[in-house]
């Protein structure tokens, strides 16, 4: 990952926090004063490097972990905004990435009953009795990140 790709990645993540959504290739190109094809290539390299994940056959950001930009059952309130987490892990990662508190509204994967977790000062203060299950072993997480 070269310096330009790191700049692009940084712009994507900072835009997510500032605006609640990832920038398009065109927006990033304008912000960094670079040509659109250069930034498009960078987005593709960052996808290949697992820095973020693009929707299939596009340069639109699907996941910039822990954030997700498609509907999931992981609604996260943190830093004065409502976000979508990629999964049970990433939902808890959003307050972590933002260095703050958070509330996660989700559901039990088995019975679909609502579940809530609250994180205060880095600790789970509500929902601590819930469990999290990971089906896919670590070495295969990126084989099909949408399923993972």
């Amino acid at each position: 990952m070269d310096a330009f790709d790191l700049d692009v990645r940084r712009h994507v993540y900072f835009s997510i926090v500032a605006n609640g959504c990832p920038p398009t290739v065109e927006e990033t190109a304008a912000a960094l004063e670079r040509a659109v094809p250069e930034v498009e290539d960078s987005y593709l390299r960052l996808h290949d490097a697992h820095a973020f994940v693009l929707f299939p056959d596009t340069t639109n950001v699907w996941m910039a972990n822990p954030w997700c930009f498609a509907p999931t059952p992981y609604r996260v309130e943190a830093a004065g905004r409502v976000w979508t987490g990629t999964c049970a892990w990433d939902a808890l990662g959003i307050p972590g990435a933002l260095h703050g508190d958070g509330r996660i509204d989700s559901e039990c994967a088995c019975c679909a009953e609502p579940v809530t977790l609250v994180v205060r000062d880095g600790l789970v203060t509500e929902g601590a009795d819930l469990i999290v299950h990971l089906l896919v072993p670590a070495r295969r997480w990126w084989d099909d990140i949408g399923f993972t």
């Binding site: 990952m1 790191l6 990645r9 940084r10 993540y13 900072f14 926090v17 490097a49 820095a51 972990n65 822990p66 999964c87 049970a88 892990w89 990433d90 939902a91 808890l92 990662g93 959003i94 307050p95 972590g96 990435a97 933002l98 260095h99 989700s106 559901e107 039990c108 994967a109 088995c110 019975c111 009953e113 579940v115 977790l117 994180v119 880095g122 600790l123 789970v124 929902g127 601590a128 009795d129 819930l130 469990i131 999290v132 299950h133 990971l134 089906l135 896919v136 072993p137 670590a138 070495r139 993972t148």
Partner: protein, 71 residues
């Protein structure tokens, strides 16, 4: 990676879908892993973490064994 209300719900969910069990963490364990994994995600000087750094974090949290091996 999903939330479940209990071990009983986990068993039923696995059975209903015909899936083999993977790894189960308590919500506080998952929170600690997530918080530490993502703490530096927005640092201006962020660099891609080396696999060894992640392995060290997993070890520190007691997440060891074949399931957690990065291979």
């Amino acid at each position: 990676m999903v939330y479940l209300r209990s071990e009983e719900h986990l068993k039923r969910w696995l059975d209903d879908n015909g899936w083999e069990p993977g790894a189960t963490l308590s919500a506080p364990q998952m929170n600690e892993l997530a918080r530490r994994r993502y703490w530096t995600k927005l640092d201006p000087g962020w660099r891609p973490p080396m696999p060894a750094e992640f392995e060290a974090l997993l070890d520190e949290l007691g997440l060891v064994g074949e399931f957690w091996s990065l291979g």
